[in-house]
Symmetry: C2
DNA sequence: TACTAATAATTGGAATTATCAATTTTATTT
DNA sequence: AAATAAAATTGATAATTCCAATTATTAGTA
């Protein structure tokens, strides 16, 4: 079955409202013949006369009245559709699936989750914590819209916005020689028992590659499953470790048994970024998230410089 | 605000259903580029990406899902509109205002009202009984859709369908000389006291003009207000009268005091027709009504010939 | 890595359609 | 009868839709 054009229905509604072909045409910003033709098409389509033409304008027939009533409703619905879809496409409306690796998640997500849910009431935010390659897979499968990951990381088809440098700090047991040494440099790590996260965490890979250490021998087999346990192991005197400043600044290593020292020349162990699938319609939101994290960081730095 | 085309919405719904631009295009009987362009227009209009293009078809975004849902509803409504308006334009649906002159109404309306309301349940039939010129005015003002009137009657802008000839019969008091005379002819009326309806009834005019009688003098001042009283006056012996066969056949003058005689050569006093305003969208219905009356008449004649 | 298959985007031109200005028709009013 | 007002008609033009052919992109496969 054929259906009319919304435009023709607009014509018809205007005709009903004005009671005149000419004035209706004016209201629709077309000429009278155009509107006339539109109405005629409707009449042909319906097989019904919609208006009686008189010397003093036009009057709707019974069928015309019905048509106008329904057409008005339809047009209103069409406008509502535009509204709904437009706002559905606004930033952070509807479901958003956000991921982060375990060494970033606890230090970044809490703050921005609060902000987001406050600023975007229509947002349904789903969080996932997993290792980088799993997150990337999920981005590709579109079960994730964006993810905070640590760089460098090569991933074709994935775009990344770099957010900030995250330098490595030394975590050593209180009283350890390195905790007192001035001018700490990477070479000082030689010979130390270096504690690392278990395999699969990108933080481990970054630490290894940056410090140019060969992983081999018995001691390095000791591997923690999370940053928290890693710090605990340091506190227990099992060795030293490298932890990202992001974690340290967020209160990971507060305690009397662990000393945190920074290197003279900062060792940029990793960068933090937000990633999304190339061409994703959520890119704008991902970038907005990135901006949000940057602002968060600036606020932290300002707060630190004040105290 | 701009609104989308129903066509574009059909494209979108098809895209949602098939999950593929190509297959959606096929379903819509257009080529893939055409459909692609349609979707892109929607996306521009909404300022939102509606579908993610992949190598294996397309998947709707959140906004796309919402758009498809609403678009489906809108299209369904559009179809319903076509249905509703089309059937609203069917014969005898909605209000129909029907008029008739007093000398026709009681003999025609009862039967067809029954038939109409039975056959067209959607019909709201309004009846008006008035004199011809008032009915004509109402047709012109479109407060009436059609009217049964007696012809001849000149009325510019009014179209008439002639239904049947209605000959005049003589009504005379029982025992009156004319009630026994053979070979009755119009000339026999000369010298008789001719009773007529009051001024304004077309029946009177027709009788006067057909019988070429001058109205003048005291006796003709006697005027009845309806056919019923006219017959009663004849029965009372006040004079003779002419009544239409339509009325006589429908039992108007049944009674021992009145004799009904037909003329040798039938005097076609009037014709009955149905009238409507030229160009009225109700013309088809008016003609249908006319047919209905004709059938009615045929049925009556058949019944009469059987008995 | 190159090749193939599947799919969507792009492009350019042809056919269709929509639109308008001018005119005509029709009915009403003066 | 002339003037007025409104809708229909007409014919030319402008806009648009639509398609065929091509290109681009991605994923799967040898």
């Amino acid at each position: 079955m054929n259906i009319p054009t919304l435009r023709q229905l607009q014509f018809l509604v205007a005709l009903g409202e004005t009671g005149s072909f000419s004035r209706a045409a004016e209201a629709c910003h077309v000429t009278q013949p155009t509107l006339s033709a539109g109405i005629k098409e409707l009449e042909d389509l319906f097989g019904v006369s919609l208006a009686e033409r008189e010397s003093r304008g036009a009057t709707l027939t019974h069928a015309g009245e019905i048509a106008v009533a329904r057409a008005s409703a339809l047009l209103a619905d069409a406008h509502a559709l535009v509204q709904a879809v437009t706002s559905a496409g606004a930033l952070f409306s509807g479901p958003f699936h956000l991921g982060a690796i375990p060494t970033i998640a606890p230090f970044v997500l809490p703050q921005i989750v609060g902000q987001l849910t406050r600023r975007y009431p229509d947002l349904k935010l789903y969080l996932t914590e997993d290792r980088t390659h799993r997150l990337i897979d999920q981005l590709r499968a579109r079960t994730l819209d964006a993810a905070f990951i640590a760089l460098p990381w090569e991933a074709p088809g994935i775009e990344v916005m770099t957010l900030f440098d995250d330098e490595f700090l030394l975590a050593a047991p209180a009283g350890h020689p390195l905790s007192r040494k001035n001018g700490l440099s990477p070479e000082d790590l030689q010979g130390e028992d270096l504690l690392l996260l278990e395999d699969g965490h990108c933080l481990r890979d970054h630490a290894v590659s940056i410090c140019r250490l060969k992983t081999g021998g018995g001691r390095e087999q000791v591997a923690a499953t999370s940053l928290g346990t890693l710090v605990n192991m340091v506190a227990g005197g099992l060795g030293v470790s490298l932890i990202p400043r992001l974690a340290a600044d967020n209160g990971l290593a507060l305690g009397p048994d662990v000393a945190i020292r920074s290197f003279v020349t900062p060792i940029i162990g990793r960068q933090v970024g937000i990633a999304w699938k190339s061409g994703s319609p959520r890119e704008a939101e991902a970038r907005t998230l990135g901006e949000l994290v940057r602002q968060q960081l600036r606020a932290q730095i300002n707060a630190a410089s004040i105290t």
